[in-house]
């Protein structure tokens, strides 16, 4: 039972991170029908930018103000980077065959990944300890402050995003663009601005995810974006890609699944089991758990 509760806590923590990153994939996919392969590398980049901001810009001394500063500056940097990628690599390919945009996304991913390597080198870096190490032992289950913070902050961000998309005018425009870009344009929605908006939001959430990865796992490498990005992408697919609550559900489910596999079976098989889960879910529900069945257009 102890293992169960412990892995539940760990699973919810990594699940929240997957969910945050998955939102970036799913929002971009929802409107543009494009798998943004560069998103995972933005997440990795965020951890490195956070490291740089903390040690070089803000002096390396932990205080509440500094931690908030690290988060804000990193989010702004990564959001701008996401914006730039959209401009350079995706916008010129709006009317091109879909696979060309996929390869362009792979190219963008390669640029960011190797850009990180050129700036910080190929070795592993240790992310600074921005939060005090406080650990609670609740009846044999170990919970740390970082875990609680990750879960709480992710939950707040996800609820906030959900309300933004469902209740505001811009959110309505995002949903309209996701259903039919041309019709949205006819209704007076500037679809280009909507795409810029989703890239800014998606990249910002990814940036928070990247900082969380740094805080939680500590060791960060230039090529970790593929690993976390792929997991988050799988989470988005499991939930039904393009569907925002789906990405959240998929992320949490995948995190829990992973933690239980690591706890009960073996972590060397974790990737394989994750993808077997994905394949089984897609065989049963071809468009993910919450994804709508789209009738093929003729």
């Amino acid at each position: 039972m102890d293992i169960f509760l412990q892995q539940l806590v760990n699973g919810l923590t990594i699940g929240s991170m997957f969910a945050l990153i998955a939102l970036g994939y799913t929002m971009v996919y929802g409107v543009m029908k494009l798998i943004n392969f560069a998103h995972g590398d933005l997440v990795a980049g965020s951890a490195f930018v956070g490291l740089f901001v903390f040690t070089q810009l803000l002096g390396g001394q932990v205080s509440v103000l500094v931690v908030v500063g690290v988060f804000i500056l990193t989010i702004i940097t990564i959001a701008l980077l996401g914006f730039t990628i959209e401009r350079l690599a995706y916008r010129p390919l709006r009317s091109a065959p879909r696979l060309s945009a996929v390869v362009s996304a792979l190219g963008a991913s390669m640029v960011i990944q190797n850009g990180i390597m050129l700036l910080w080198g190929p070795q592993m870096h240790i992310f600074p300890e921005l939060l005090p190490t406080i650990i609670w032992d609740i009846g044999g289950v170990v919970v740390s402050l970082i875990q609680v913070l990750i879960m709480a902050l992710s939950m707040i961000l996800m609820v906030g995003l959900y309300l933004f998309v469902e209740k505001t005018k811009i959110g309505t425009a995002i949903r309209a663009s996701a259903i039919d870009q041309d019709a949205a344009r006819l209704m007076g929605i500037n679809v280009n601005n909507i795409i810029v908006t989703i890239f800014l939001i998606g990249s910002s959430l990814g940036a928070v995810g990247g900082l969380f990865i740094g805080l939680y796992y500590r060791g960060i490498t230039f090529n970790m974006g593929w690993q976390y990005g792929l997991y988050a992408f799988v989470a988005a697919i499991i939930g039904g890609i393009g569907n925002i609550p789906g990405a959240m559900l998929g992320g949490i489910l995948l995190g829990l699944f992973n933690a239980f596999i690591a706890g009960y079976i073996s972590s060397t098989w974790a990737d394989a089991f994750t993808f077997i889960l994905l394949i089984v879910i897609l065989i049963v529900r071809p468009t993910g758990i919450l994804g709508e069945r789209v009738a093929e257009k003729v």
Binding site: Y29, K33, I35, L88, A89, P92, L93, A96, P97, R98, L99, S100, A101, V102, V103, S104, L106, G107, A108, S109, M110, V111, I112, Q113, N114, G115, M117, L118, W226, L230, F233, V234, I237, I241, T268, W269, D271, A272, F275, I276, L278, I279, L282, I283, P286, T287, G288, V294, E296, V298
Partner: protein, 315 residues
């Protein structure tokens, strides 16, 4: 004009390829051999991705399955290398049918992520030494090398010419495929699979067929690859390798010359610029983006040749 270039192009290409080893040192000979092998895999990927239009990002799985079949039969069971070839074609082809069967109805991107999934499961199974015969993370080494009797002095050239022979065989299969009933069916399938279904093409069968054919050819390339290095290891077949084959087909443009160009650009060029090791993939990423912006249909897009002109001309 195009026809003339094509008629001259292939013989010229093969003459150049046949004479190439005389000009290369051992490092570049190895690059040239891998170039030929990757071309075969990319052509097999093109059957699924370019010809049948299914987003397959797991071709390295079938490539690896062929290589491992050869390696296990040779190193563990002591079969001669050439005798493993039929099995290295049949096993990936069977897996192609078994894996494609349940997922063939998935829409584009869902199929893409499932094929990535298969690839990752495969590599993890190899690394965890499934069944105790895959050698774990180190792989299997010390395989027998193919030798041609009486030409032992030219042993270093053998892998290259074996690869070239396999490439010629692949091109022959592709040429026949294109002018066959199956090739036409696949062409319609890519253009519009609903319409293809409505004119009586059994889309499911042909989709699975294309997977099996692509897998068989990739498996053959795997044998040739195992022969080149006389070793196999899991990381040579991980999903980033699949991403490479996928990009080759799209960058090159789903035609034979396009794929040759694609393999050259995506594999040989990075080898040439090896001295700029840290910068090359950074610049390479930009090159991929700009290639797609400037030539969205690839460097040398395919034209479907066998349709009478009156059907394809506009107006």
């Amino acid at each position: 004009m195009m026809k003339k270039i094509q008629q001259l192009g292939y013989p010229l290409f093969f003459v150049v390829m046949a004479l190439l080893p005389a000009l290369l040192d051992s490092r570049w000979l190895a690059v040239a051999t891998t170039f030929v092998i990757f071309t075969i895999v990319a052509l097999s990927q093109d059957i699924v991705l370019g010809k049948a239009g299914m987003f397959n990002m797991g071709q390295a799985l079938f490539f690896g399955l062929g290589a491992y079949t050869t390696a296990i039969c040779n190193a563990v069971f002591g079969w001669p290398l050439l005798a493993t070839l039929p099995l290295a074609i049949i096993i990936p082809a069977i897996f192609g049918v078994l894996l494609a069967g349940p997922i063939i109805h998935l829409r584009g991107d869902y199929l893409l992520v499932t094929t990535i999934g298969f690839n990752i499961v495969f590599v993890q199974a190899l690394q965890n030494n499934l069944g105790g015969v895959t050698g774990g993370p180190n792989g299997i080494f010390g395989l027998e090398m193919l030798g041609i009797p009486g030409l032992a002095a030219y042993q270093q050239f053998t892998p290259y010419y074996v690869a070239l022979a396999a490439l010629i065989l692949t091109l022959f299969i592709l040429r026949n495929l294109e002018s066959s009933k199956v090739g036409r069916a696949l062409h319609y399938l890519r253009e519009d699979d609903l319409a293809a279904g409505s004119v009586g093409i059994n889309t499911r069968v042909y989709k699975i067929y294309s997977f099996a054919l692509g897998a068989g050819i990739a498996g053959m390339a795997g044998t040739v690859y195992a022969n080149q290095y006389s070793a196999v290891s899991p990381e040579a077949f991980d999903f980033l390798q699949s991403v490479l084959f996928f990009s080759i087909v799209i960058v090159g443009g789903s035609s034979v010359p396009g794929i040759l160009l694609g393999v050259f650009v995506m594999f040989v060029l990075p080898e040439i610029f090896r001295e700029f090791s840290t910068w090359r993939y950074f610049i390479f990423g930009f090159a991929m983006i700009f290639t797609m912006i400037l030539r969205p249909r690839g460097l040398w897009p395919a034209k479907f040749g066998r349709i009478p002109k009156i059907f394809t001309e506009k107006g």
